[in-house]
Every structure is written in C-alpha cells, then in structure tokens.
Symmetry: C2
Subunit: 308 residues, 2 copies
C-alpha cells in the first residue's frame, strides 16, 4: 500500500548542546517520508525552491520515495532556524522564513489520488482540508498540527479533525486543544472533536494512543496504549522526532492488510523506533544510514526494555 504525505520539505539551521548545523535538509514531509520508506511506498507532495539540489532529492529517492509531487518554485525553500540549547524537549524558534512555502498550494500529481493512505503533516489546516478533498478514495487519513493553528486558527483546524482517523499531537497541544490539564481527560476531549484515535507524544517520555469506539470500526472503545522511547546516551538533534515517529507508525500501518489493535500497537513501537534514530544525528543524517536490520534490532530492544 502507498502513503501520500503532504507537508514541508525544508532546510533547518540548528543549534543543540551537541553542536551547530547550517541549512541541513529537513521538513516534516522529509522526516516522515524517510521513516515511512522502511515499511511502504511513499509519495511526497510539497514545494521547494531553487536551493533544493539533486543531492537533496537523492536523500529521498535512494530510499525509494517518489518525489514527483515536490513542486519547484522560483526563490528559496522554507528555512527554519531553531535552538535547543536550553531544553532538548522544546524547540526555541529563532527564525521562520517561509519563502516559497508562503504561496504553497498543494497539487496532487496524476495517479497519486489512488494512494491508499494520506498523511497531512503540519501545514495550514486550510491546505490540509484541500488535499483531503482531492483524495476521496483513501482508506485512512492521519495528520499532525501545531500550537500555532490550535491557538490562532482553531476554526480552520476543527473541520480537519473531523476527517482524521488518527491525529498525532504533542502533550501540551492536546491540553491546549481540549482545555483540560489532566492528560487522560485532554486526550478524551480531543477525541470529542472528531479524530477516531489520538496519539499524544510526550517527547522523551514516549507516547500514548487513546481510542474512541470508532477506532477499529467495531464500536468497541479500547484502553489506551503506551510506548516508551529508546534510552539514548545522547540526543543530538530532536528536530523531526515527531515526524519520524509518525512515519514509522503510519508506514507500518500501511504495510498491513487490516488495522487491528495489535497492528496499531506494533505500529506505535515502530514509531518510537524511527523517532529514536532521527534524534541521534543532525537533520536526516541518521535515518539515511539506518538499515532495516537496525530497525528490527531496535524494535526488539524496545520490546525487551518494556515487557515483563
């Protein structure tokens, strides 16, 4: 099965306790696609500028990612400058240069609308909805968002939430979206806004899936499911951890015939595994070097450190 992901393909300038990097390849769709490519076919819809070179494209194509949907526009690519010097769990944005991304209007290349799985990475919810409408035949829709859209554009976000089988969201975003401080109540509050299932990400403390009675189409509401992250001696660069989690999670789901609770749980573990690789080097460096054997070994490790 194939996933279509729409989102940012960008360059990041980063500062973390481990060092500094200028203009490394990044963006939500990039991290997502690389992580998902270990499990299934991935097609990317996005926009880049003239600074996006063949060497950048090869990072994706070498993993089999279909880049036909990455539009070239005159000007520069989206560029984010951020620092994690004070807290590895919270990015401090120094500059957001939208560049060609400011006028992004996603176009679905011919044949892409046959994709079975759609992932709406964190972009303007108006664009997320626009893409969703162009893909009426997908089997499943998952998506991400951020505090900016929750706080300043809630009315644009709400119709997107109605379309989602799975919403992936950070802990503080879930609290913000629901108005609840307790984590469980926050997740339940988010479920009431439309998504069939919500995955709440707790940074270094893993993630939790909260299910509704619509999660698996059988009217049964299941208990939450929790994952840990892989213990790491050094987190080099947290950028893209959440997108890599989403890619591992959704990539595994798309590789399976039916979405059962067991498939969902296994997918969460693969999400955690892919997120753990992402943070071990700057940008996409580690995900580029990772092999399927590495993935399997880390999956086994995550199981070992969490199972009785």
């Amino acid at each position: 099965m194939s996933i279509l992901v729409v989102g940012s393909v960008a360059f990041d300038s980063l500062e973390t306790p481990s060092g500094k990097r200028e203009r490394v390849l990044g963006g939500a769709a990039t991290h997502f696609a690389l992580a998902a490519s270990f499990f299934t076919d991935v097609r990317v819809v996005g926009v880049v500028g003239e600074d996006f070179l063949p060497e950048h494209e090869r990072v994706l194509t070498v993993k089999g990612v279909d880049t036909k949907g990455i539009e070239r526009a005159p000007g520069k690519s989206f560029h984010w400058t951020g620092s994690y010097l004070t807290d590895l769990n919270a990015a401090h944005t120094l500059a957001t240069d939208l560049n060609v991304f400011a006028e992004f209007s996603p176009k679905i290349p011919e044949g892409y609308e046959e994709s079975d799985f759609l992932f709406l990475a964190n972009i303007d919810p108006v664009l997320q909805l626009q893409v969703r409408k162009q893909m009426p035949k997908v089997k499943m829709v998952a998506g991400d968002t951020m505090n900016y859209w929750i706080g300043a554009h809630r009315e644009k976000l709400l119709p997107v939430l109605q379309e989602l089988d799975v919403l992936l969201i950070n802990d503080n975003e879930a609290r913000m979206l629901s108005g609840e401080t307790n984590g469980v109540k926050a997740a339940e509050g988010v479920l009431k806004l439309g998504p069939k299932t919500v995955i709440v990400k707790y940074g270094e403390h893993g993630s939790a899936a909260y299910f509704s009675d619509r999660s698996f189409g059988d009217g049964v509401k299941r208990r939450p499911f929790r994952t840990h992250t892989v213990p790491l001696q050094e987190v080099v660069d947290p950028t893209g951890a959440g997108d890599s989690f989403a890619g591992g999670f959704y990539g595994y789901v798309a590789s399976q015939k039916v979405l059962t609770p067991e498939v969902f749980r296994t997918a969460m573990f693969y999400g955690s595994v892919m997120g753990s690789f992402a943070v071990e080097a700057f940008g996409t460096e580690k995900l580029q070097q990772t092999t399927r054997k590495d993935v399997d070994e880390r999956f086994a490790l995550l199981r070992e450190i969490s199972h009785l």
Copy 2:
C-alpha cells in the same frame, strides 16, 4: 520474608487542585508500609508524638504492619504542609515542622534485626547509615533520598549509597547527584557512586531501572527496564506516590525466593500499580480501601496498556 522500613510517620496538610486536607496521616514509612503490606510482612521503625492516636496506628495494624518499632515521644509528630496547586508533578513545601522527628534516633526493637530486607526511606543519611550498621544480616538494602541531602549533605550521603542494592530516586535528583543532564548518563553516573541498581522515577511518566554488572550477582550488565504509570482521569494527591511505588516494588521483591531480572521487572510493575492507587485520594485513604483483587486487576491493566 519481612521488610524493616525506617522513615517518617507524619501528618500532612495538603492543597491540590482536587481540594484541601488538614493533618492527614502520611510520611514515607507509612506509605511504604501500606503498599508493601500487600506482598509481605512489614515492620516500621519511626517516631511519633502524642497526636498519633490509636486510630492512626490501626491504619497500619489492620494491614498486618508491625508497629512495635514506632517510638512515642512527648510533643507533636512530624508535620508537613505542601501544595500542588501549580504543578501536580512537583510539591511546593509551605512548612516543615519536624517536631519529635528532629531528635529521632532509630532504635531497632529486639527481633527486628532478623529482618531479611531493609528499606531506608528518605531521612538524614547519618541515620540511614546508623540503621544499616545495626542490621548486618539483611539480604538486601534499598533506599531513597532527596534533593536536600544531595545538595547540602553530599558527603554524608555517599557512604549510604555504597550500602545500597537499590537506590530509588527522582529524575531531577539523579541529574543533581551525577551532574549529568542526559537521563541515561545521569543514571550511569549514579551507579558509579555505589548502588548496584538505580530506579529513576519520572513522576507521571513512570520509572526506569538502570542496572550495573553487580545487580544480579552474575557479573552481567543488563539493559534498562522501563515502566509506565497507570493512566488516571484524576490525580487527587501525589504525596506518597514514590514511597508507595517503593513499597510495591520492594514488597514484591521480598515475597520472592530469588531476585532474578524477571522478578525485578515484575516488582517495578507492582511499584507502578501501588503508586497509582496512592494518588487517587488524599493521604492513605485509597491504599486503605484497596484489595489484593484491585492490585491484581491493575497489574493486568498496566500489562495490557504496555505490551504488544
């Protein structure tokens, strides 16, 4: 097998988002003993004042806890006043009235020195060491401490760490004690100070055990083990969660013939289970009402929400 616990038996005045309570029964040894009593025999060594009434003692004795080691002194019991209004994960101390606890000099009643397991709850490390020396025959020693002793009395704490099979400690305390910011490096740094195993508690995000090659006496250093907490719709009062975790953990260990890695992992789950009951009501209220059936059901729940 029986556990001897030395620590505070106290009264707590508390304010949390769920309400206010004046002078409810508390103290590290109290919470520990109640939680451990579900698994094994427990003996408490501590000191109380004239305000410790038969009704308070019955909270412990009704669960089979041996209170012979609770000394009566003229004056009032230790009284802690705290608030969790701003953050359920961090207690804000409003007042610490040591009262009779200021002059506490632990006395081990006759027969108690035959206890197989010793738990040194968070008290002055000088007293912890004094008790340890009086119990030369114990099979295993576990203990807790707090930021105050780490920051202001490190030189008194270090000899205690050398005596511990298991140190239980909060995340920020592990970082403080080791001088490391990364969680894994912090735990490894703490292990170098003496304890064979360290359990780091992450509040609502569960706990992790970090092992040395001395953890199980076979020279093998094992990977960490992580547990979640039980998802709760309301945390009423976090006071005693860590002590209840310790009680569940150590109580289960003491109920087993040999400390294997599997026993250790299962004990961590029981710790998490007992901690989850502790926070559901003020003081010891919920642990008093909890049945062994409740414990077994919640253990199964914790397994369900974390296992593939």
